[in-house]
């Protein structure tokens, strides 16, 4: 298992925090992730329930289980990437590279890296309804950046695809991805694509919000 040293930001002063970005996570690692995250997910759920908040306002991945996603790693095309601060997992991403193809020109029909699942640790969510601020900033952007790098290494020039949960759409727009269409086959989730041009701009921070 290889890792790379990276940085995250710690509010409120946006202090740089050292982290490890690790790709090639194994099923056992995903079990460890979930073992750490499950009690925190439960704590958040309890907070929401105590306040009687409408369930439609809950974080939309609250009930997920990363240990259950381990079976995807049987596939050569799959890769799981995570970010560690100390020995605490801050975010995890599962990508696939062989079964999704670009819908947007000029690269329509060409392969891309598809983000199958991505999630921040429960303590890295901004939840104003229950008074929680994310502990570290940058987990999402760094993982998206890593997906672009993976895409470039594959020869896909940074192309990415994903189906966003409704709550997350503004983030991907903010990354410069294009909301292409809603897929009936994926419960009408909005399909986003990062073109090679948008990927280049993202890496250079030249994002114009679409």
């Amino acid at each position: 298992m290889s890792f790379r040293v990276i940085q995250l930001l710690e509010p409120p002063e946006n202090k740089l925090v050292e982290a490890k970005l690790i790709d090639t996570l194994k099923p056992h690692d995903l079990e460890l992730v979930e073992r750490a995250w499950t009690p925190e997910r439960d704590r958040l759920l309890r907070e929401y329930l105590l306040r009687g908040i409408d369930r439609r306002a809950y974080p939309q991945s609250l009930h997920w289980r990363w240990d259950k996603k381990a079976r995807h790693l049987r596939e050569l095309q799959a890769r799981a990437t995570g970010i560690l601060v100390g020995d605490a997992w801050q975010g995890v991403m599962l990508t696939k590279s062989a079964t999704q193809f670009a819908r947007l020109q000029p690269d329509r029909g060409k392969p891309l890296v598809y983000i199958d699942y991505i999630e921040a640790a429960p303590w890295n969510l901004n939840l104003p309804d229950i008074g929680q601020q994310r502990r570290y900033r940058g987990v999402g952007p760094v993982l998206v950046r890593e997906a672009i790098l993976q895409s470039q290494r594959e020869g896909f020039h940074g192309r990415l695809g994903l189906h966003s949960l409704p709550q997350s759409e503004h983030f991907y727009t903010g990354c410069g991805m294009t909301g292409v269409e809603r897929d009936a086959a994926k419960q009408n989730l909005l399909y986003f694509e990062m073109t090679r041009e948008a990927a280049t701009r993202y890496m250079e921070n030249e994002v114009s919000a679409t």
């Binding site: 596939e75 050569l76 095309q77 696939k96 590279s97 062989a98 029909g109 060409k110 392969p111």
Partner: protein
């Protein structure tokens, strides 16, 4: 650590490989690797009991592609 393999292909196969590499804007090696990933992914799903279909939305037709 990468392993090396020599591939013997018929002219028609090589032509198809060249054409795919051109269309997909990939090296020939990358095409082969993608093909392997796709083949393996399909095989695993079929082993799990799933089925692979082609769907023609316009004609409202589904054809089973790979049968175990």
């Amino acid at each position: 650590m990468k392993k090396t393999m020599t591939l013997n292909l018929m002219p028609t196969e090589m032509a198809a490989l060249d054409e795919l590499a051109r269309k997909k804007d990939l090296s020939k090696t990358a095409v082969i690797r993608q093909a392997l990933r796709l083949y393996q992914a399909v095989d695993l799903r079929i082993e799990d009991g799933e089925k692979l279909f082609f769907e023609d939305e316009k004609e409202n037709k589904k054809t089973e592609l790979v049968v175990l």
